[in-house]
Amino acid sequence: MTDATQHASLLEADPRTRRRNAAEMRFRLYGLIAVGIGIAALIALLTSVLGNGSSAFRQTFVEIPVLLDEAVLDKSGTRDVEVMKKVTTVGYTKLIQTALMAELAEKGIALGEMTPKDVMGLMSKEAPADLRKQVLEDPSLIGQTITFPAFANGRVDGFFKGRVSMESAKLDSNISPEQLQLAEAMKEAGLISTRFNLGFLTMPDASELRPEAAGLGVAILGSAYMMLIVLVLSLPIGVAASIYLEEFAPKNRWTDLIEVNIANLAAVPSIVFGILGLAIFINFAGMPQSAPLVGGLVLTLMTLPTIIIATRASLKAVPPSIRDAALGVGASKMQAIFHHVLPLAMPGILTGTIIGLAHALGETAPLLLIGMVAFVRDYPSAPPEGFLDPASALPVQVYQWTQRADPAFVERASGAIIVLLVFLLMMNAVAIVLRRRFERRW
């Protein structure tokens, strides 16, 4: 054997030690770089999402006093809602138009060559519908003059947010520079303001003609319902399946087969789960289309493999001595697992759950086939009936909005992503706190 003096002096490193230390530093650096790459990617993505999407939470409103003319809205004067329903949004549009023209005249804003229709172009098409709803809910408003905040047209909104400019308006068939100038004048007159828009979180989706009115209310509810189902089903089932496979199942070809099979399920494209859901839940079991229940079940099946794989890996990592210790004091296998092994495997299980749920929350493809990628304007009711009502989901909303022609939907899609991420973070926060409590080294 070599003699003892070969070792380097303590204070002065020999070349080999220096090499090893350099390797150590490099390795450490690689690690740091890896974390850095991840964080940098995150920052890049988040800044682009935040940069594009934060403006979705602000909206431009037009506020004018509107006289709710009885002669237009309720000719009979009976305040009978059924009769008043006969007046469609067209009637309300005229009302608003009159009010708008009057207000502009009063503020002394010159209209140039613009027709009243052009002026009305500054307002969202949502405004009359909104007004109609208010009046039908409270017929006593008729005859009064009310000031209500109406959405400005998406292009006008874009102008105040910097998305639309005078130059682009020249080329734009939906808005003209004159209209923008008018909008500016109205802003100076205090008729137009841009402020926080809660409606983005609460209102339902809107059609392509009124991007400014599109909101995430239905999608948030739908996603929440689905995640509830996914969490309640996939976590216990996944953990139970993993426990059986890892701790009880005999180790033979059959269990190998199941193991491979589960790993394989994780690789099945998510749309295939949609095909499965369509075949089993809708066609075979007769569940309704577009229902969060079906969506939740499909996503559960999709999430299960992820949770099972993560859980099995962390069950495997619990040292056998802990099992021995429990069995040695007379615990049954079941008790040993539920009392000792499972708590120790908890961090890994929670990680699997976080990742699985994140995947499920952001997935659109399987929903495509079970009717959840739909335009839904009515809120689902409260659970449990709500699980069967048509609903949308956050990723679906993102997916649909990115497909719309009006550029105003781009910011809304990014805004929806922000909401999705906040949703995700809230979901994960719980799991992360739990994971911290279970983490320990032995």
């Binding site: 068939s173 990628v373 739909a374 839904v376 304007r377 022609a405 009006d406």
Partner: protein, 323 residues
């Protein structure tokens, strides 16, 4: 079930949502649920059977096929109403800051076909720039984003642009003789595209095409008229045969590239699903699908025969056999 359920073509989807939204606002019925998912999938869903858990209306950007009708019959869906409510214009557009383009179908054929005819002989497409194809066009590299084969638009593009151009340029006859008079093979040869990257299939939607043009300023893309109308500040539209695509020029039949839009209704559901009939009538009413309605404002080319359609809907006339 108390809401109308609609599924199908993503081209029809925006129109259907506009109608559904207005319907929900002005009627007592809940807003219909409108799904995309493609014409084929929509018609398949329509034909899955009668009853609450099947859809009521299938949107389609192309006519129903015999195989769909057979499937419907097999599942007890015997009466279907066919409603054509307008036309979709297909336009060619490039980046707003790029040069102007004025095409003929023959230009497109010569730019994108796998084989073209030069001096009476079939040769592999040698054209690099648009100017190579037609000296009147700018000398910009050929790069076209055309709809992928999953899109109904592609069928129209193949039919009305490539084959038309093929015939116009006389290549069709050459292909036909080369294939010993086989018309099908000649057609196929007209529609075979070059694979050197000058023609790029887009499987996504028009927003993707737009984003690609943004990333690749020297490209031409294929869009729907409505999409272009919402993005006139970013896109410069090209003319075909000297005609600018507008709602008017298409309705007049001057602009050559357009296709009809349909929806199909399961008649057994009318009178059963509350609001279905009202929805259908509302959809084809002048207030909606008429030339001054919101659909036209959005880019739908109104059907000149809309009145006949309205009547057919009012009388619930089921469609006859395909011809």
């Amino acid at each position: 079930r108390d809401n109308v359920q609609v599924a199908g073509s993503s081209t029809v989807l925006p129109y259907a949502t506009i109608v559904a939204e207005a319907f929900g606002e002005n009627f007592d019925f809940p807003t219909p649920v409108v799904e995309g998912g493609g014409s084929g999938a929509g018609r398949k869903k329509l034909c899955e059977g009668v009853g609450e858990n099947t859809i009521d209306v299938a949107n389609s950007s192309s006519r129903i096929k015999q195989s769909d009708i057979d499937l419907c019959t097999a599942n007890g869906v015997t009466e279907i109403m066919e409603v054509r409510f307008g036309y979709d214009g297909i336009v060619f557009a490039s980046d707003i800051n790029g040069p102007e383009f004025a095409y003929t179908p023959a230009d497109w054929f010569n730019a994108l076909a796998k084989d073209v005819v030069k001096d009476g002989k079939v040769v592999a497409n040698p054209h690099k720039t648009w100017a190579d194809v037609n000296a009147a066009l700018p000398a910009q590299n050929i790069l076209a984003f055309i709809p992928g084969t999953k899109h109904g638009t592609r069928e129209v593009f193949d039919e009305k642009v490539l084959v038309q151009g093929c015939e116009d340029s006389g290549a069709y006859e050459v292909f036909k003789t080369a294939n010993a008079g086989d018309e099908d093979k000649a057609h196929d040869a007209c529609m075979a595209l070059r694979t050197d990257g000058a023609s790029v299939d887009i499987d996504g939607d028009y927003t993707e095409t737009l984003a690609r043009i943004d990333a690749n300023k020297a490209a031409i893309g294929v869009f729907g008229l409505s999409f272009y109308q919402n993005n006139t500040d970013k896109l410069r539209v090209a003319t075909i045969n000297g005609i600018v695509p507008t709602v008017e020029s298409i309705a007049a039949g001057d602009y050559p590239v357009s296709r009809p839009l349909y929806f199909y209704v399961k008649k057994a559901h009318i009178g059963v699903i509350p609001g279905l009939k009202e929805y259908l009538e509302f959809f084809v009413s002048d207030d909606m699908a008429g030339p001054d309605g919101p659909l036209a404002a959005y880019g739908l080319v109104s059907d000149p025969e809309l009145a006949a359609t309205q009547e057919a809907v009012a009388n619930e006339v089921p469609m006859g056999p395909l011809n």
